[in-house]
């Protein structure tokens, strides 16, 4: 299977997305942003629909749209009258509804929509892959640069604020990065399952160690490893790539849960 260019590209894409989501997933799990991840990924449907209808690149419109939705969630989420989960619920269902309504106005777009819902990593082009790699490198570098700030905010937002850390800006930055990464990852496992790559490897890592360096390393390793094993399984058993990647990740999680039972 390694002789096929499409498979080589898919492997690289899955590894890159696995590494990026593993890194971001550390903060998703630490800061309890799992539902934010669901909200952002599902809202991308709205952006995809706009792109498909307008004839623009759906990945680009989805990224812009997801960033706007993420910032909207952040902005409205600061209203203390509402719980953050309620705000996310409103935003992502609204964005998804918009996408479905837009798509229902024209026939023949369901096929494209399916590619985004379930991923289509085996169809990724060389140019797309190059873009994905550069984007992931940039996003990863930004996260590493503000890593300790993010850790401080996760530990105690109030103290971070008292010491003049730009807490709101960094929180917004994290959401923007998350939105872009989610849209990038949709190509590999799809809207419906990208959340798994954000949460499952990082949650698995949290079962193994209380050292953030090791957690990040394990999470990124599992993200990439699940990508490789999932794609191999997908090829060998002729099953969908996105689903099998996530199944591999969940298997690691389940095994860890068994091996690391609470004392």
């Amino acid at each position: 299977m390694l002789e096929y260019v499409f498979f080589q590209r898919a492997l690289v894409a899955a590894v890159v997305v696995g590494l990026l989501c593993g890194l971001l997933g550390f903060f998703v799990v630490l800061r309890r942003l799992a539902f934010v991840g669901v909200g952002i990924s599902h809202s991308a449907v709205g952006g995809v629909a706009i792109g498909l209808l307008a004839g623009w690149n759906p990945a680009a419109t989805a990224a812009v749209f997801a960033v706007l939705v993420a910032l909207g969630m952040f902005w409205v989420g600061r209203d203390r009258r509402l719980g953050e989960d309620a705000v996310i619920g409103v935003f992502f269902s609204a964005a998804m509804a918009l996408g479905l309504v837009l798509l229902s106005t024209r026939h023949g777009f369901q096929q494209d929509l399916f590619a985004y819902l379930f991923g289509s990593v085996l169809a990724i082009s060389g140019a797309e892959l190059a873009g994905l790699c550069v984007l992931s490198l940039v996003l990863g570098a930004i996260v590493v640069a503000v890593f300790r700030e993010l850790l401080f905010i996760a530990f105690d937002e109030e103290v971070a604020r008292a010491y003049g850390r730009p807490v709101d800006a960094i929180n917004a930055l994290l959401l923007v990065i998350l939105a872009i990464a989610v849209v990038a990852g949709i190509r590999v496992v799809g809207v419906l399952l990208i959340e798994a790559l954000l949460v499952v490897p990082a949650a698995t890592a949290a079962l193994w160690t209380l050292d953030f360096r090791r957690q990040v390393a394990i999470s990124m390793g599992l993200g990439a490893g699940s990508g490789v094993l999932g794609l191999v399984a997908s090829y060998s058993f002729n099953i969908t790539a996105g689903g099998s990647i996530v199944m591999v990740a969940v298997t690691f999680f389940s095994l860890s849960l068994l091996l690391r039972r609470r004392a």
């Binding site: 300790r148 401080f152 103290v159 008292a162 010491y163 003049g164 850390r165 160690t209 209380l210 050292d211």
Partner: protein, 257 residues
């Protein structure tokens, strides 16, 4: 020279006045205890000093500047927030948590250098837990965790230390130990200390002066004066009879309050 000046300060939260007409000065090197019943606005008072709560009237100056205007020098004010526990699963070591307090001392490009780790270990030494540097922060006892947070609040530039109920949840020996440490650091590092507690007894024995608030200022003076003042009765209202008995008891037991 005054470390902190409040002049007729008024604070509203959700259109409700939580602090009104608060005026006091804290000279440098003092240990000010802030007491008052639950819901009196003690934490809000600290948040005003830290620039975390806006004032709607009056003026505040902290170390010569308006609160929250210390820019890159934000850590001249150390802050130990009210915190009963640290999440047991937080994935960072004690040294990593203390390092967080140094982020603002590092300038724009934050590459951790040997010097930064040296400073972290110096801070851990100051509070007497350098042997716990590599321990996950969630795996400390209550007293040890409080010391770690104290080390986080201190760095080479810290001049003013602000603590919110720092001993809540500690047993009496740990509480006394913590206050002894605090007073030793105050002298060694030449700090001004402002400490909030609802526990009048604990603070009266430690602070060089006390203020008592309950939305408004009730009294400001040395502990002896405050503890025996009528104003305290007003601030604590019905709780006071209970307190008065306790203080009398404490006086006899401790000998000097």
């Amino acid at each position: 020279m005054d470390a902190v000046t409040f002049e007729k300060v008024r604070v509203e939260l959700d259109r409700r006045t939580v602090l009104d007409d608060i005026s006091f000065r804290v000279r440098q090197g003092a240990f000010l205890g802030v007491i008052g019943p639950n819901g009196a606005g003690k934490t809000t008072l600290l948040r005003v000093m830290l620039g975390l709560a806006p004032i709607v009237g009056g003026s505040v100056e902290v170390l010569g500047r308006a609160p929250g205007r210390h820019g890159a020098d934000a850590h001249v004010i150390g802050y130990v927030p009210q915190r009963e526990t640290v999440a047991r699963t937080f994935p960072a070591s004690v040294a990593d948590v203390v390092m967080m307090g140094r982020l603002c001392c590092m300038g724009r490009i934050r590459i951790l250098r040997r010097h930064d780790w040296d400073e972290v270990h110096r801070g851990l030494e100051l509070v007497g837990i350098e042997h716990l540097a590599a321990r996950p922060i969630g795996r400390l006892s209550g007293g040890e965790a409080r010391r770690a947070l104290l080390a986080q609040a201190l760095c080479s530039g810290t001049r003013l230390l602000v603590l919110d109920e720092p001993t809540v949840g500690l047993d009496l020996p740990s509480e006394l130990e913590f206050y002894n440490l605090l007073r030793r650091l105050q002298h060694e590092l030449d700090l001004t200390v402002i400490c909030v507690s609802h526990d009048l007894l604990a603070l009266a024995g430690q602070a060089s002066e006390l203020i008592c608030i309950n939305r408004v200022m009730h009294v400001h003076g040395d502990p002896q004066h405050v503890v025996h003042s009528h104003a305290l009765r007003e601030a604590y209202s019905c709780e006071f009879d209970f307190l008065a008995g306790e203080i009398a008891h404490h006086d006899r037991a401790g000998g000097s309050v």
